[in-house]
């Protein structure tokens, strides 16, 4: 029996870690509704488990998504996760082959070089020694990047990395110390017994020249074990809990566990899956453009985990979805944010008894402008002109003023009041028997699509215009004007509508490329989802977005959201227009009408 006292910190730490992680996972599973628990059971014994395993390898070990976003950062995460995993895997194979038994205690593989003093007698012995050193080098290279990142984050292309609290630093240091101690312990063992590989052997020989290796290596084995033990015990309480949790999250996703709007177990698993890698921090415009640097998802998620949510942090977010788009773990940060807002805001306060209950005339197509479009009447006027000239029959649902679609209330967390408004609108839409609902505002569009369960075709006006062009109901003349297009958050990242606006715009003018578009597009700053953001901060964002959109000297900026238009127009020196306005101006029939009107006027003035 191989034993040394120094294995105790490692062994106890591993045992505690095992207990705590099992306890946490069983808590999540027990809290799931019955239906979801059944899904989980069924999932584990289905082919879906292979998909889970594949994604765990690709994401938890190789960190493919981080590689895509930031290769250096991806390498850092991969070297730690994959390198360490391989050290454990190959080390276990090596030790088990050597001992000729499957029943080793876990510590035997970890401290193998302490127990074995002669050259290995297993097959591919040299190969094993090489591989073990190779993966140790991989982990150490990751460590070097991690260290540089802490000193100067731009090394890995990050303007900012996550700010850490003392306990985070403690857990991080215990992780960092594991590998240098392992290197020293194994090198010294190699120095004494010639058991090392391409890294540990020369280093061991070097140490042997001037150091008393016997007592020193024993101390290093202790240090190595203590670092491991400390890391294991601190893991469940630190951000490193993301390592086991991400596997649970991946399983939940593949097994189809349901998400709700409230803070549920799915969201709790997401919270523990956050590694605070900090990718969200640089993506947040409140940080990069308005110097608000305490509210980003990494910090916000930590505050949920610590049950220390501050209303000012929860509410101070544009809910633009940029961080969510780039989260390597795929955490739905927007949903998480809104679920927390419900804690503060979800109370019935409003009385909507005054809302009109009149039933509109039956129609096939309903047009809903929304309150923001009423505040940007040129969009409304343009849309009505397009609809009227196309000859289709439609009804203007909110001609005399809108009943709010409910999304502003939902964005502030007040879902209860939102539901009352939504019911009123739903009744109007249902009783009209329309098969298509057209909106000009992406904010309304999103809630109509995601929360109304209308079972009819709900489209944004850019989509409707595109289909009208395709059907030949309207035709456009290209003005040749250079256009810079701004993707609205709710339309783009929110609903994935990227192509239709571009298709329509490229028929009214020349669409310019822009380095931050589609899913990387910037938020205009005017988001109604943020009630903590002072106008000064919004303005800082809007100004920089306008500068970005104007960089290629376009003739105009086009967008597809009345709120974006309002935010951008404030600081633009060039025209800012909704796509509907440009379409209305470039309609061929419209042009003909205009020139006819002009001629008629000329005739009259001559006569006069």
């Amino acid at each position: 029996m191989n034993f040394a006292w120094f294995v105790l910190p490692f062994s106890l730490g591993l045992f505690l870690l095992f207990i705590l992680v099992i306890f946490k996972i069983s808590f999540w599973v027990r809290q799931l509704p019955l239906r979801d628990r059944l899904l989980l059971n069924r999932g584990i014994f289905s082919f879906k488990i292979f998909k889970v395993i594949k994604e765990v390898i690709m994401e938890s070990l190789l960190h493919r998504r981080i590689f895509k976003i930031n290769p250096v950062l991806g390498f850092m995460h991969m070297s730690f996760a994959f390198g360490w995993f391989m050290l454990i895997l190959v080390g276990n194979m090596e030790s088990r082959l050597y001992a000729g038994t499957e029943l080793n205690l876990p510590y035997y593989a970890i401290f193998f070089k302490y127990f074995v003093h002669q050259p290995l007698t297993i097959p591919f012995a040299e190969g094993f020694t090489f591989i073990m050193d190779f993966f140790l080098v991989l982990v150490l290279s990751g460590l070097l990047i991690a260290l540089s990142k802490r000193i100067y984050s731009r090394v890995v292309g990050m303007k900012r990395t996550t700010k850490l609290k003392p306990f985070d630093v403690f857990a991080m240091l215990s992780l960092w110390f594991i590998f240098p101690f392992r290197l020293l312990a194994e090198s010294m063992a190699a120095g004494m017994y010639h058991t090392g590989g391409f890294l540990t052997q020369p280093l061991g020989n070097f140490f042997a020249g001037f150091l008393p290796l016997g007592p020193l290596s024993y101390a290093m084995w202790w240090a190595y074990s203590i670092a491991l033990g400390v890391f294991f015990v601190s893991l469940p309480y630190s951000r490193y809990m993301h390592i086991p949790t991400e596997i649970v999250l991946i399983a939940f996703r593949h097994f189809g566990i349901r998400r709700t709007k409230e803070y549920d177990m799915f969201k709790d698993v997401e919270v523990f899956s956050c590694s605070r890698c900090g990718i969200c921090i640089d993506k947040c415009q409140l940080n990069t453009m308005a110097q608000v640097n305490t509210i980003q998802s990494a910090y916000f998620i930590k505050s949920i985990r610590k049950k220390n949510q501050q209303e000012a942090v929860v509410q101070n977010c544009l809910v633009c979805g940029r961080c969510q788009e780039f989260c390597p773990v795929g955490i739905k940060t927007d949903d998480l944010r809104l679920s927390q807002r419900m804690i503060f805001e979800n109370r019935e306060i409003a009385d909507f008894h005054y809302l009109p209950q009149d039933v509109p005339v039956k129609t096939d197509i309903l047009y809903f402008a929304g309150c923001m479009t009423h505040l940007t009447p040129s969009i409304k006027k343009a849309m009505l002109n397009i609809l009227n000239s196309s000859g289709i029959s439609y009804r203007f649902m909110d001609e005399d003023g809108s009943i709010c679609c409910g999304r502003p209330l939902m964005l502030s967390g007040n879902n209860k009041d939102a539901l009352k408004l939504m019911q009123t609108n739903k009744d109007i839409i249902r009783s009209s028997e329309a098969h298509t609902l057209v909106t000009s505002c992406p904010i309304c569009l999103r809630v109509f699509r995601e929360d109304y369960n209308l079972n009819i075709n709900v489209v944004h006006h850019t989509q409707f215009i595109e289909s009208m062009i395709a059907e030949g109901k309207i035709s456009l003349e290209n003005s040749g004007a250079k256009i810079s297009y701004h993707d609205p958050c709710e339309l783009g990242r929110g609903l994935g509508i990227y192509d239709e606006p571009r298709n329509v715009l490229s028929q009214t003018g020349v669409l310019l490329k822009n380095s931050l578009e589609r899913k990387s597009s910037l938020c205009c700053g005017g988001s109604i989802a943020n009630n903590q953001n002072y106008n000064l901060n919004k303005d800082k964002i809007s100004q920089q977005v306008v500068a970005h959109l104007s960089a290629k000297e376009p003739d105009m900026i086009a967008t597809a959201c009345p709120l974006c238009k309002k935010s951008l127009v404030k600081y633009a020196d060039i025209r800012v227009a909704d796509i509907a306005e440009l379409v209305s101006e470039q309609m061929v029939s419209n042009k003909a009408d205009a020139s006819r009107a002009e001629k008629k006027f000329n005739v009259e003035s001559v006569e006069a």
Binding site: T376, P377, G401, N535, D539, K565
Partner: protein, 351 residues
């Protein structure tokens, strides 16, 4: 040889300060980008609170610059060089002017009301600005709406582009409240039957006689003043304008159709102010107007030694304030050029 001063901008401030500097014996060149002097004053028929003609003030200012000031019209400045303590101002047609001191009087533009889209300017025909109404007065024609009707109901909206974070202007433009009162009275005098509703946030009748004018508007002319900010305007079928506003004293939402909606547009830094400032590296304050060296004691002094400000390029000002400021700027420039002992206080700011 007399020291040289170049004054940039031939509005009220530029004209009055040029007149004083020339009379003090300096060689003054006044550069004006348009082909005549007077700036915005040329567009205002009558002035508050006296209702005298703007032309009378213009004539007074012209007398000051007629003889001793070298007036250059259609001047388009392309470059300003600084050579040690002197300046050289270059124009696009090749001319250039040397100066021992520069006085910037580039003034303001009226707020572009299309930026406040919910008020419908540029979208609905019967929404006009206070400047356009004044033009109607100036031309002396009958008051009719852009769609050709004699208005029976007129809405006047205060604070358009002023005190409004939503358009990025948080400051008060100072002249619009009393302009609204003045224009309402004039409308009422021309169309005694018309109903006029002024929508205000609060009425800033700070000037001498402003309050009296406001009282006259209510008592003599029965003009309605309603406290509340316009939320949105829309167009009715007959092209009248429907306005939605909350009467914040009665605590009731209000809908009203008017034949004509007049927007009291505020001050923004003029295009020239922005261009000259960027060209020379002059400091701008948070509101976009020039930043003066000290808000209380150095109101005509810029961040560049030898460059001074007068008039509404530093903040919105009434005509009275502008004339006073122009004369103050003239003495500040003279004090600098003559190195009066008082200048020690100014120079301390540049060390």
């Amino acid at each position: 040889m007399a020291k040289k001063v170049v004054v940039i901008g031939g509005g009220i401030a530029g004209m009055e300060s040029s007149a004083y500097l020339a009379e003090m014996g300096y060689d003054v060149t006044l550069l004006e980008k348009e082909d005549c002097l007077g700036g915005h004053l040329r567009n205002w028929e009558r002035l508050f609170p006296t209702m005298r003609l703007g032309q009378e003030v213009l004539d007074f200012l012209k007398l000051g610059v007629d003889t001793k000031v070298n007036v250059i019209r259609n001047a388009n400045i392309t470059k300003v060089n600084r050579i040690e303590k002197r300046f050289q101002v270059e124009l696009d047609r090749g001319a250039s002017f040397n100066a021992d001191a520069l006085l910037i009087t580039t003034g303001y533009d009226t707020f572009d009301a299309t930026k406040k889209e919910e008020y419908g300017y540029g979208i609905y025909d019967n929404v006009i600005t206070s400047a356009e109404l004044e033009k109607m007065f100036m031309e002396g024609k009958n008051i009719i709406t852009p769609t050709g009707k004699v208005p029976k109901k007129i809405g006047i909206i205060h604070c358009v582009g002023s005190r409004d974070e939503k358009v990025g202007n948080v400051y008060c433009s100072k002249v619009c409240c009393v302009t609204a009162v003045k224009q309402a009275i004039e409308l009422k005098e021309k169309l005694p039957e018309v109903e006029i509703y002024c929508f205000y946030m609060d009425l800033r009748m700070y000037g001498m006689h402003f309050e009296a004018l406001y009282k006259e508007a209510q008592e003599k002319h029965a003009i309605n003043f309603i406290r509340g900010r316009l939320s949105e305007a829309s167009e009715n079928m007959d092209q009248t304008v429907m306005i939605k506003v909350e009467d914040t004293l009665a605590g009731k939402p209000l809908k009203l159709s008017v034949d004509l909606l007049v927007l009291m547009v505020g001050f923004v830094p003029s295009k020239g102010t922005k261009e000259i400032g960027k060209m020379m590296g002059l400091e701008f304050g948070t509101n976009g107007f020039y930043k003066t060296k000290d808000q209380h004691t150095m109101t005509n002094v810029s961040n560049i030694q030898g460059v001074f400000f007068a008039g509404s390029c530093t903040a919105p000002k009434t005509i009275t304030n502008t004339i006073t400021d122009a004369r103050a700027a003239a003495t500040t420039v003279a004090s600098y050029l003559e190195s009066y002992d008082l200048e020690i206080r100014t120079k301390a700011f540049f060390q």
